[in-house]
C-alpha cells in the first residue's frame, strides 16, 4: 500500500549489502539527530509526566499523581479555558479573513500581488515584535482605546481588562495569521476549473450562489488543512502573551503553554510540566479527530 517512490517501477530485487550500506550512511546523520532530539524526547516527554523529575533532585515514578494534581489545579482549568476560548475565537476569525482576502485578491488585476505580499508580511514578523507594538496599540489612550471610545465601546486598556484581554489577543493573532491561510486558499482557488464557474454563470447563478455552491465546496480540503494548522498554532499560543500581558491580569490570559513554561522552567517541576504537555497532546489529537469527522468528512 505504501509505495515509496524509490522502489517503484523497478525489478524487484533485494538491495545489495553495499547499496543498503551507502544508503544508511546518507540517512545516518539525520537518524541520530532524530532519535536523540525527537523520537527519544517524545517518548520521554510522556514518561516524565508520570515522574516527579526535578533538575538536580531525586527522581521516581509517581504514577498518576501529576495528572491528579492537574485535575485539582484551578490554574490548569483556567489555562485550559483561556486556551480554548482563544482558539475558538481566533481560528474562525482568522480563516474568515483569509477567505475574504483570498477572494479579493483572487484575480490577476494590477496590484493583486502587492496586496498579497502586504497581507503575508505579518506572517514573517516575530510575535515578540508584534507584541511590543500591539502593547502600545492597546494601551490606555492609544489608538485602539481611542477608536473604541469613539464608537462607544469600552475605552480603557483592553489588555488590563480580565474579559477584553482575550479578544485583544485574538485580534493580534488574526492580524499575524490570516496571510498564511490566504495563500493556501489562493493556491487552491487557482486549481478550480474555470468551466465550473462558467457553467454556473450560464445557469444564471448569482455571485453569492457561485461562491456558495461552486467555490466553497471546492475549497473544503484547503479549509480543512488551514483549520488544523491554525488550531494547532492557537493551542500553543505563548510568545505574544508572554510579551503583552505576562498571562495577566490575574491569569486571565494565562495559556496552557504558559503554564507548561512556568512549571518547567521557572519552578523546574519538569514532571508536572510534562503532564501539562501530555494534556496538550491529547487535546490536539481529539480536536484533529473532531475536525476530521466534521469539516473533512468527504475526503
Amino acid at each position: 500500500m505504501v509505495a515509496l517512490p524509490g522502489s517503484r517501477g523497478r525489478r524487484v530485487r533485494r538491495p545489495s549489502a553495499r547499496e543498503a550500506g551507502t544508503a544508511l550512511l546518507f540517512v545516518l546523520p539525520f537518524l541520530l539527530l532524530f532519535a536523540v532530539f525527537r523520537f527519544g524526547p517524545a517518548i520521554a516527554g510522556v514518561v516524565l509526566g508520570f515522574t516527579d523529575y526535578t533538575i538536580g533532585g531525586e527522581t521516581g515514578f509517581v504514577g498518576l499523581e501529576n495528572f491528579r494534581r492537574l485535575v485539582d489545579d484551578p490554574t490548569f482549568w483556567s489555562a485550559l479555558r483561556v486556551t480554548a476560548v482563544f482558539t475558538v475565537l481566533s481560528v474562525p476569525l482568522s480563516m474568515l479573513a483569509s477567505l475574504g482576502m483570498a477572494m479579493l485578491t483572487r484575480r490577476a488585476f494590477r496590484g493583486a500581488k502587492l496586496f498579497r505580499s502586504i497581507f503575508f508580511l505579518p506572517v514573517v514578523t516575530s510575535l515578540v515584535l508584534a507584541g511590543v507594538v500591539f502593547t502600545w496599540v492597546f494601551a490606555e489612550g492609544g489608538p485602539w482605546s481611542r477608536a473604541m471610545g469613539a464608537i462607544g465601546l469600552p475605552a480603557g486598556s483592553w489588555l488590563a481588562d480580565s474579559v477584553l484581554v482575550i479578544p485583544a489577543l485574538v485580534l493580534v493573532s488574526v492580524w499575524s495569521r490570516f496571510g498564511y491561510g490566504m495563500l493556501i486558499l489562493l493556491a487552491r482557488m487557482q486549481d478550480i476549473p474555470a468551466e465550473l464557474e462558467e457553467a454556473a454563470l450560464t445557469d444564471g447563478a448569482s455571485a453569492w450562489q457561485r461562491f456558495r455552491y461552486v467555490t466553497l465546496p471546492q475549497l473544503r480540503p484547503a479549509l480543512f488543512f488551514v483549520a488544523i494548522i491554525e488550531t494547532t498554532v492557537s493551542f500553543q499560543v505563548f510568545d505574544m502573551i508572554y510579551v503583552m500581558t505576562g498571562g495577566g491580569p490575574v491569569r486571565s490570559s494565562y495559556s496552557l503553554v504558559y503554564l507548561l513554561y512556568d512549571q518547567g522552567f521557572k519552578y523546574f517541576d519538569l514532571g508536572y510540566a510534562s503532564a501539562v504537555g501530555v494534556a496538550l497532546f491529547v487535546m490536539t489529537i481529539i480536536v484533529a479527530l473532531i475536525q476530521r469527522l466534521t469539516l473533512g468528512r468527504e475526503e
Binding site: 537518524l31 524526547p41 516527554g45 488585476f109 507594538v133 510568545d239 510579551v243
Partner: protein, 300 residues
C-alpha cells in the same frame, strides 16, 4: 505624435457595439465596475490595518525619549535617532543580533544538509528499515513540540549545552518536515539522472554533491528561507536554552528589555533592528516565501 502610437496587442475583433456590451452576461474573470471599486476599497482598508503596526513601530522608534501622546506620536516629527544610540550602545542588541545570525544561519545549513542527504536516500534508495523509519518520522510530527521540548532541555543541560550555540542549534537540526519535503521533491526526479552518473563510476557521495544538490536547488531555496524564518523568530527554545544576557537572541533579548520596563522608543528601536533583516529577506525572497506556502503548505 500620440496618434502614431497604437497598442501593440490591439484585438483584431470588431469593437462590440454598445448594445452588445450591455447584453453580454457578466463573465467570471471580467469584473464589473462596482465590484472593482468595492474590492479596491476593502483591500486598501485591509492593507492600512495590516501595515499600521509596522508604521507605528518605525515612527515611534525615532521619537526622542519622553512622553509623547497619541495621536501626535504618529507624526514623523520630532525626529531623533537617540533610541537607536541607546539601544545599540548601552544594551546588548548587537550581540543578540550576532547570536540570532549564528542560530539561524548554522541551522539552515545543517537542516538543508542532513535533510537532503536523508531525503535522497528515502526517495531513491532501498535499505532495511526504510518504511519503519519513515513512518516513525511521520508519527512524531503529531507530537506537539512542547512535549519533546522538556526532555530535549534535560538532555542539553546534562551535556552542559545550556547557554552555548551548539546546545541551541543541534536539537533543531532534527527537522522531520524538512526530510519529507526533500524526499517528495527528489522522488519526482527521474532515476535516469542518477543512474547515468553511477554507470560512469561516480561514488555515491559524488552523485549527491554534483547531481542531486544542483537539481534540488528550488526546494533548497524554499526550505532554506523557511528554516531561516523559523529560527530568526523562534522564541521559546532560545528563551529556555540561552538564559544569560550574552546568549539571548533578538526575540528573547527584546522580551527581556520589555520586562525591564525600558522606554518604548528604545524597545521599538530594538524591534526595528530585529525586523529589518527578515524584512529584507522577505523582499528579496518573496517568491520563495509565497510559493513555498502555496506549493508545500509549509507553516509560515
Amino acid at each position: 505624435m500620440t496618434d502614431t502610437i497604437t497598442p501593440p496587442a490591439a484585438p483584431a475583433a470588431e469593437p462590440a457595439s454598445r448594445r452588445d456590451r450591455i447584453r453580454r452576461p457578466y463573465r467570471a474573470g471580467h469584473a464589473s465596475r462596482g465590484w472593482v471599486v468595492g474590492r479596491t476599497a476593502l483591500l486598501v482598508v485591509g492593507a492600512v490595518v495590516t501595515l499600521f503596526p509596522f508604521y507605528a513601530m518605525v515612527v515611534l522608534s525615532f521619537k526622542p525619549t519622553g512622553p509623547v501622546t497619541f495621536p501626535d506620536s504618529l507624526l514623523p516629527w520630532p525626529f531623533s535617532p537617540e533610541a537607536y544610540d541607546q539601544v545599540i550602545g548601552a544594551k546588548s542588541v548587537l550581540r543578540w543580533m550576532w547570536n540570532t545570525v549564528v542560530y539561524s544561519v548554522v541551522s539552515v545549513v545543517g537542516v538543508l544538509l542532513f535533510a537532503s542527504m536523508a531525503g535522497y536516500a528515502f526517495a531513491k534508495k532501498r535499505f532495511p528499515g526504510k518504511e519503519t523509519m519513515f513512518w516513525s518520522f511521520l508519527a512524531m510530527l503529531m507530537v506537539p513540540y512542547h512535549v519533546t521540548m522538556i526532555p530535549t532541555f534535560i538532555i542539553i543541560s546534562e551535556l552542559n549545552g545550556v547557554d552555548t550555540y551548539w546546545g541551541m542549534i543541534v536539537p533543531t537540526l532534527a527537522n522531520a518536515q524538512a526530510v519529507f519535503l526533500m524526499r517528495q521533491f527528489i522522488a519526482s526526479l527521474p532515476d535516469s539522472l542518477f543512474e547515468a552518473a553511477r554507470l560512469d563510476g561516480c561514488s555515491e557521495w559524488r552523485v549527491y554533491v554534483s547531481i542531486v544538490l544542483p537539481l534540488i536547488k528550488p526546494i533548497l531555496a524554499t526550505l532554506g528561507v523557511f528554516v531561516f524564518l523559523w529560527h530568526w523568530n523562534d522564541f521559546l527554545w532560545p528563551l529556555i536554552v540561552g538564559q544569560s544576557l550574552d546568549m539571548r537572541t533578538l526575540t528573547t533579548g527584546i522580551a527581556s528589555l520589555q520586562q525591564e520596563n525600558v522606554a518604548l522608543n528604545m524597545l521599538l528601536a530594538g524591534s526595528v533592528v530585529a525586523f529589518v533583516p527578515i524584512f529584507m529577506a522577505y523582499l528579496i525572497g518573496q517568491r520563495h516565501f509565497q510559493e513555498g506556502v502555496s506549493t508545500t503548505g509549509i507553516k509560515g
